[in-house]
Assembly symmetry: C2
Homo-oligomer: 403 residues x 2
């Protein structure tokens, strides 16, 4: 092995990579292009959510004091003033002793301060509504800004935008966001025996596998892959190829050359660049011992094993965590609270995840049903089967993440 | 509720959906566009893999019988005939008592039938090589077609192409594949109170959230989303919108109208189409009770709840499994065998997953290091920390899936 030998553990390799990450440009994009992108800055709510006081139930808008003391055996009698239309400012003004029909999401009319669910009411002819349950001021309403105050942080810097985050931003009227440019990743396969797909290999030659599988893995990690022509084991050609790929990309992945001597050639070529800085040469991992990383100026060059499974695995271990801000899709966690469930139906409880001593704790989100910020707080949901009565705090649960 | 009422469990809903799935076109695409696509037919290997007999080690190509009986104390003396170059047909012919240097992946020269690892050899001057370990015929070789025979099935119909699958196909010289066309999914938000993003909502109005979040969720599920203008709660306009969306898509997702009466209107409009067939109206699940599905001709229309978190969750439960053939990224499984690991290094063991009584069993893939088919067999890998000595059969492990 060469004079550069610097073998590290995977943990050390990840630490060294984290310190050497290329800087990223930012760009402004429309919300509809935001899936999987990372925020370059926190997004503040340009307006309060909701922007008007809304009912969270189908029922009657009332003055709460008109219902005080009423019960099933002693209903309150209110005079019916009509219906609040969806999507319009109500023209009705409700005086003491009056009420009007309001649908879920409807805007509360002047004079009212609570809503009564339809289940606790009865229409009596055209003019009268009986109220069987008292409500307090604010009951069954979502007040202006209760979900998110104007100017509050909706999503933090570095947050990776999922479908529900885009929904939250849309609800606040955010139409464009500043995001980090995806990493540009150049991919170079090396080796005298490697020929490009589309070329008939002669005896002794094999087709290039790593260019296509690494490009797909890079793409799946929300980064931009660019593949370069195959380079034979030749110092000058290798040097030219690395130079061109560093020019056009943030990262360069090289793979190939598992035979003795060739890996050393790659490293020597990389270290011959004026601003080259060796991060590591050799990782104490299987597969992937010959993995190396060199920083050249602001660019990061990673030498992966030539064998395709090893190359993909080490890409997943060493590179992917830095390219892709997404967490895995489904994971096991520990329930952070008792969660009740009704037998006979399947329940899907939105949860957020906390990391505690290396474990994921799934905490149920039990906000009001109209809250929009739950969109961003929810990391996913847990499924309680229709045969289960609920989940006890401390039980292991499977969390399905939102995209 | 209407005369159509047909409440089902989630399990029944999934079963009814599975029977009503729209048919899918197929298309032929280049391998480089294959990530996440589903194969419309099995792919057979057009040639044997490998296409020539290769060494799997760096060392010496020999006639095995020349090494019989040799040992560390009694080495065999072979005359050195030179080096096999990578990527070329060897011109050397090896006679009894001779050997030549061969790199990993090099093509075995005529006359040889085994390779000896360099660690068990010693060069003595220019002409002689000492062999300290006997090898049998075929040792340290990958024979023609040993990885995959010509005509054998590389990937089955319906398989969802991951990065490693694309690598496998590239290695076999497959340049294009027949895949299913992604589902086209139309998205319609309904409601008098809903206004499009980019419009200033008046008091009582709210911005459309579901169009953007469902479109992103559809996109994340490898399907093609098309959003349509918002439709107010009007029978004729709803009918026109559904008709247009059914024309241009395989699926139509409708969301909105959580207030009493509006859901019934949606269902009545859907059932008024000549070929309408009700799958279910109401699902015994929380959230998502008002979820409904109607088949109209060959198209599938799903009515989702209006509330964004409920809409996304029910989309994930009811629709996503049919749109997206991908399995989740990371999952817990039970080790199907003892897996040894050397302390002091991190091991990443490629595994395939078997489902057994509802559990995932992770079986280690212990093939020869040069096998290409492992690319497709491996569902992912398990990580054995450098402080662990290995994993016992039956232990719980975390499997990180390849993309």
């Amino acid at each position: 092995m060469s004079e550069f030998l610097k073998v590290v553990t995977v943990e050390e390799a990840l630490h060294l990579m984290a310190l050497a990450l290329p800087t990223r440009d930012r760009e402004r994009i429309a919300l509809s292009n935001g899936l999987g992108r990372e925020l370059a800055e926190a997004v503040h709510s340009p307006e309060p959510i909701p922007s008007f006081t809304r009912s969270t139930v189908d029922g009657y808008a009332v003055r709460a004091e008109d219902t005080f003391g009423c019960s099933e055996s002693l209903p309150a009698f209110l005079s019916y003033r009509g219906e609040i239309p969806m999507g319009k400012t109500p023209e009705l003004i409700i005086d003491p002793g009056q009420c009007c029909w309001i649908p879920t999401g409807g805007m509360m009319p002047t004079g009212t301060d609570a809503a009564v669910m339809v289940e606790y009411t009865e229409r009596l002819g055209d003019d009268t509504v009986l109220i069987y349950k008292a409500v307090g001021p604010g009951d069954n309403l979502m007040q202006i800004g209760e979900d998110a105050a104007q100017g509050s942080i909706l999503l933090a810097e570095n947050h990776c935008l999922r479908s529900q985050d885009l929904g939250l931003l849309a609800s606040a009227g955010v139409e464009e966001v500043n995001v980090k440019h995806p990493y540009r990743v150049g991919i170079i396969s090396t080796g005298n025996e490697i020929v490009a797909l589309g070329t008939d290999p002669q005896p002794g030659q094999v087709r290039d596998v790593n260019s296509i599988s690494l490009a797909a893995a890079v793409q799946a990690a929300n980064a931009i892959a660019k593949t370069y022509p195959i380079v034979p084991d030749d110092r000058d050609m290798l040097s030219e190829a690395v130079s061109a790929a560093c020019e056009e990309n943030d990262w360069v992945l090289m793979s190939g050359g598992s035979s003795i001597g060739v890996k050393d050639m790659t490293l020597e070529v990389l270290m011959s660049f004026p601003q080259a800085q060796l991060l590591f040469h050799g990782v104490a991992a299987k597969p992937g011992k010959p993995t190396m990383a060199v920083k050249i100026g602001s660019k990061l060059v990673v030498g992966l094993p030539g064998h395709p499974v090893s190359a993909l695995t080490m890409f997943g271990v060493i590179c992917k965590p830095f390219l892709d801000a997404k967490l895995p899709q489904r994971l096991t966690a520990t329930a952070g609270a008792n969660i009740a469930s009704q037998a006979g139906r399947d329940d899907y409880v939105a949860v957020y995840l906390e990391e505690r001593e290396g474990d994921w704790i799934a905490q149920p989100l039990l906000g009001k049903s109209g809250l929009m910020t739950i969109l961003a707080q929810a990391d996913g949901y847990i499924h309680i089967d229709h045969q289960q009565q609920g989940i006890y705090c401390g039980e292991t649960v499977l969390v399905t993440r939102f995209d």
